[in-house]
Amino acid sequence: MSRIGVFICHCGENISRTVDVERVAQVTARLPGVAIALDYKYMCSDPGQNLLKKAVAEHKLDGVVVAACSPRMHEKTFRNAARAAGLNPFLCEMANIREHCSWVHEDREEATAKAIDIVKFTVSRVKKDRALAPITVPITKRALVIGGGIAGIQAALDIADAGHQVVLVEREPSIGGHMAQLSETFPTLDCSQCIMTPKMVDVANHPNIKLYTWSEIEEVSGYIGNFQVTVRRKARSVDEDKCTGCGVCMAKCPQKKIDNAFDRNLGTRPAIYVPFPQAVPNTPVIDRDNCTRFKTGKCGVCEKVCGPGAIDYGQQDQLIVEPVGAIVVASGFDLYNIGPKPADSPYEGYGEFGYGAIPDVIDGLTFERLASASGPTGGKILRPSDGKEPKQVVFIQCVGSRAREKGISYCSKICCMYTAKHTMLYKHKIHDGQAYVFFMDARTPGKNYDEFWRRAVEEEEAVYIRGMVSRLYQKGDKVVVMGSDVLVGVQVEIEADLVVLATAVQARTGADLLAQKLGISYDRYNFYSEAHAKLKPVECATAGIYLAGACQGPKDIPDTVSQASAAAAKVMTLFAKDQLEREPIVARVNERNCAGCLACKKVCPYGAVEEKEIRDRNGNLIKTVAYVNPGVCGGCGTCQATCPSKSVELDGYTDEQIMAMIEAL
C-alpha cells in the first residue's frame, strides 16, 4: 500500500473562499493509499513547506500531492521541498484547485466536489509515479561552425576568443561568403572588403580555429555535447602546407578564360585560382573540370613553375571526423534566379523579364561586383553587353520576393536598403546618369536606415516609382521597361541602358540536404527553423545546434552579426558546464517488447530515435529495435501514442499514470 500525503492549500482565501478545504482533506484522507491529508493556509510559505517535509519524515510518505495553484506556478517549489525531505522530486505532484477550480467557479458545492475529484485522480497518478534521476550528458567543448561567411566568421571568432576550439568548414576555396563580394555597405557606405578582410585574417591566424575550406559536411551523428562530424575535404590539388601563396601558378596557367563565379561571371580566372585576391587561405585550388591537365593529361605548367613543389595532381578527397559538442549553422543564402523554372524548383521564373536572356538585365549582386573597386571593371559601372557606361539605370525591387504567384511570399528584407545604396553608388560614379527605382513599399526599419533611404531619394535624386514592372524587352541597344506608376495612375515606359533586379534572398540550394544530415527542421522555403520564433531565435529545436545568419531567413549584415554572436554565446553557455543536466522526462524503449516497426522514429520531431541491434552472445542478430537517445529526446511523447504495442514510454507520463487518472475520474 502506498503512503501518500495530501496537502491542501487555502491560498489565503483564494481557494478556501469557494472550496471547502477541510472537507477536501476529510474525504481524501479516506482514499486508499493516503496516509495523511492536511489543509494549511499557505502551503508555499516556509512553514507550509516545513509541514510537508515534516510529514514526509513522520509518516514515511512515498508520494506527495499538493493541492494548490497551477503546477506552472509552484511545482518546482514543492518538488524541491520533497527532495529536501529525502523524497524523489518526481514523486511529488500538484493538483490544481486554484486556477482550474476555485477561481473559475462560484458554487461552493460544485467547486468542492471538483476539487475532491482533482485531488483524487492526482493521488491515483502519484501512486504510479516512479522515481526519476536527472540525466547528465558529458560535453565535448569544441564547436563546429558551418559556413565561412560573415555569420560563421563572427561566431567562430567569438567562440574561439572564449578559449574553445572551433572547427570552421567552408565549401568554397576561401572564406568571406557573400559579404566579400559586396562593394560598399549600407547605411554607412564603408567598403565591405575593408571591414571584412581583417576578420578573415583573424580567423586564419587564430590559434583556436581549425579552418577547412573547400570542404563540406558529409555526415553528422551524435547529439548535444557529443556530435561526430565527418568533413569531406575536397581535393585541392595543392598541398596547403607547402604552398606559399606566391601566385606564380595562377599567372602562368595557360587556361585563363574561365568565367569567374565570384565576379558573377563578368570576369575570367585561370584554372588554378583563388576566387579573389584577398582570399583566406591564400592557397589556390585547381578547378579540375576546366584544367587542361585533368581534361587531356597534357600541360602541367603549374607543377613546373611551383617553387615549393606544392602542386599535387593525385590528391584525393579526404574524410576527417571531428568530435564537437555544439554546432553553429551559418550556411547563408542564394539569390533567386529569374530563369525558367527547373522541374524540381518551386519557384517560377520571370518570363516577362525574358527569363534572364537579356544581357543588360542583371541582379543586385552583379551590380555590387560592377561597383566594387576590386571587381572585373575596377569599380567602373559598365554594362555587360557592350561595356558602355549606362546613362539610365532602372532598378526593380521585389523580384521574386513578396510574389506569391512566383512561389515566394516573404519579404527579402535587404533589397530596399541595398537598392537605395545602389542608386547612390551609381550617382557617385556616373554623375550625369539617372537612376529609377520601381518599388512596392520602401521598408527601412533599422538604425539610420530610413535616413539613408531618404538621402537616396532627396539628395541623390533617384526617381522612385511606386509600381510594378510588367515587361522588359530589348529594343536596339536599350532595354524597354514597361511599368506602372500607381501613385500617379499612369503607365510608364523607360528606355534603360541597364536594368538591375533586386532578386529575392532564398535558401541555399541543398539547404534541405544539410538539414537532413543535421537533423534540424526547415520551413517550406528551406530556411532553417528556430526553436521558438520569439524566445529561442538562435536555437534549433535539435539540442546543441544553433543558427546564425541568412540560413534561417533573409537578414542584413548587422542582424547577421548579432545573431552569430548570440549563437556563439549560446555555445559558450553550454560549454560553461562540464556536464549537461536535464529533466528526465524522456522516452524509454522496452527492448523486449519492441517489434522494431520504427514508427516512433518516423514521428520523432527531434530525431532522437535510433535503430539498435540486439544480438545474442555469439553476435547473431536477434532483432532490431528502437532506441531513444535521452540526450536528444525532447519529451513530447508522440512516439508513445504512435507505438502500437506501447513499447516506448515517456517517463513522467506513462500509460499507467494516465490510465490511473482516467480510472479515478
Binding site: 517550406r524 523486449r592 517488447n593 519492441c594 517489434a595 522494431g596 516497426c597 520504427l598 514508427a599 518516423k602 514521428v603 542478430l621 532483432k623 532490431t624 504512435t642 502500437p644 504495442s645 506501447k646 513499447s647 500509460d655 499507467e656 490510465m659 490511473a660
Partner: protein, 315 residues
C-alpha cells in the same frame, strides 16, 4: 457478403487450365530457386485434405516443389509467415514467397515497417482472378457467385513489382462492389443504428483473436490488449471489452492495413471486420490521399503530416 442474387451467376471466371498452367510454372520456378540455392525455402500453397481446399506450405526440398499449387482456394495471405509473430521462417536466408496482388501489398507494408527486407525475398507473383468466398462450394469453379467479397473490387490482379509474375489473366467481368455497397449502407445509417449494428456484431465476439493471429500487421511482440499494467482494453469477452478491442484493432491498422481481409475470413463468428478496415482506408485516402500500394511507402499516413492538413473538425 455474397448474397443470393449473385449466387446464380456461376459462369467460371477463368478456365481450370489456367490454374494448371500457373501451378506448373510455379513448381518449375520453386524447384529452380531451391536447387540453384537462390533461396532456402519457398512459402506457398499445397492441396488441402478436403477437395478444393488449399493451405500454406513451406517447401525447402526441391524434390517436393511439385507439392505446390495455385488455385482459387489459395485464400491465405502468406506474408504472415515472414513476420515476427512467426519467427521460424524469417532469418534463415533468402526466402521465396508466393504472393497474390493483395499479399504483395502486405509485403510492401511490412517492408516499409522494417519487418522484412526486399533483398531477403524472392517474390513469386501470381496473377489471381480472385479466391473463394466463405461458404463457397469448392466443387464448383470460381465464379462471380462464389467469389470473396474483397475480390470483387480487386485492382491488383497482377502483382507488379514481384521478381517474377506467373500467369496472365483473361479479361475479367466488372462486378458490383458488394463491400463498398455494404459500407455505403452503413454510412447512410444514423449513429444510433450503426451503434446497434456494431454492438450486435461485436457482442458475438469470443475474443479468440483469430483476426489478430492471421493479420500480417499484428506482429507486435506483446499486444497492447494483452497488457495488464495498465489494462488498456478489458480482456474478457464482454461487450464493453469487445467494443474496445475492435476499435483499437481498427485504429492500429489504420493506414497500414493491406486489405487482404484475412481477419474477416478467419473470424469464426462472422463479424464483418473488413468493413472497419475499409472504412479507415477510405477515410485516409480522402483525407491524405494515402492508399495501400504494391511498393513500400516509407512513411504511412499516420506517421507523417502536412502543415496544411485538414483541421475543419478542430475548434
Amino acid at each position: 457478403m455474397n448474397n443470393t442474387a449473385q449466387k446464380h451467376d456461376a459462369t467460371p471466371l477463368v478456365a481450370e487450365s489456367y490454374y494448371a498452367a500457373v501451378t506448373d510454372a510455379l513448381r518449375t520456378e520453386a524447384a529452380r530457386l531451391l536447387s540453384e540455392g537462390v533461396v532456402t525455402a519457398v512459402i506457398g500453397y499445397k492441396e488441402g485434405r478436403r477437395h478444393g481446399t488449399a493451405g500454406p506450405a513451406i517447401v525447402v526440398d526441391p524434390a517436393r516443389a511439385n507439392e505446390l499449387i495455385f488455385s482459387a482456394a489459395c485464400v491465405n495471405n502468406l506474408a504472415l509467415y515472414l513476420t515476427k509473430a512467426k519467427k521460424g521462417v524469417a532469418g534463415t536466408g533468402k526466402i521465396a514467397i508466393v504472393a497474390k496482388g493483395c499479399d504483395l501489398r502486405a509485403l510492401a507494408g511490412l517492408m516499409a515497417e522494417s519487418q522484412i527486407r526486399r533483398e531477403d525475398l524472392h517474390i513469386i507473383g501470381v496473377a489471381c482472378a480472385g479466391v473463394f468466398g466463405s461458404g463457397a462450394d469448392r466443387r464448383e469453379p470460381l465464379s462471380a457467385g462464389n467469389l470473396a467479397g474483397k475480390c470483387r473490387e480487386c485492382s491488383v490482379g497482377a502483382p507488379e513489382g514481384a521478381d517474377i509474375v506467373i500467369g496472365t489473366l483473361p479479361p475479367l467481368p466488372e462486378l458490383s462492389p458488394v463491400e463498398a455497397e455494404e459500407l455505403a449502407r452503413l454510412e447512410a445509417m444514423t449513429p444510433a443504428e450503426r451503434w446497434a449494428f456494431w454492438k450486435e456484431n461485436f457482442a458475438r465476439c469470443i475474443r479468440c483473436f483469430a483476426c489478430r493471429q492471421v493479420c500480417p500487421f499484428c506482429y507486435c511482440e506483446q499486444c497492447l490488449c494483452d497488457r495488464n499494467r495498465p489494462q488498456a482494453v478489458e480482456t474478457t469477452p464482454r461487450p464493453a471489452g469487445n467494443m474496445a478491442w475492435h476499435i483499437v484493432r481498427a485504429m492500429h491498422l489504420a493506414g497500414r492495413c493491406a486489405g487482404c481481409a484475412e481477419c474477416e475470413r478467419a473470424c469464426p463468428m462472422d463479424i464483418p471486420l473488413n468493413l472497419l478496415n475499409r472504412k479507415m482506408a477510405r477515410e485516409l485516402k480522402e483525407l491524405y490521399g494515402h492508399e495501400a500500394g504494391l511498393t513500400p511507402v516509407e512513411k504511412g499516413p499516420l506517421v507523417i503530416y502536412r502543415e496544411d492538413d485538414d483541421q475543419s473538425f478542430i475548434k
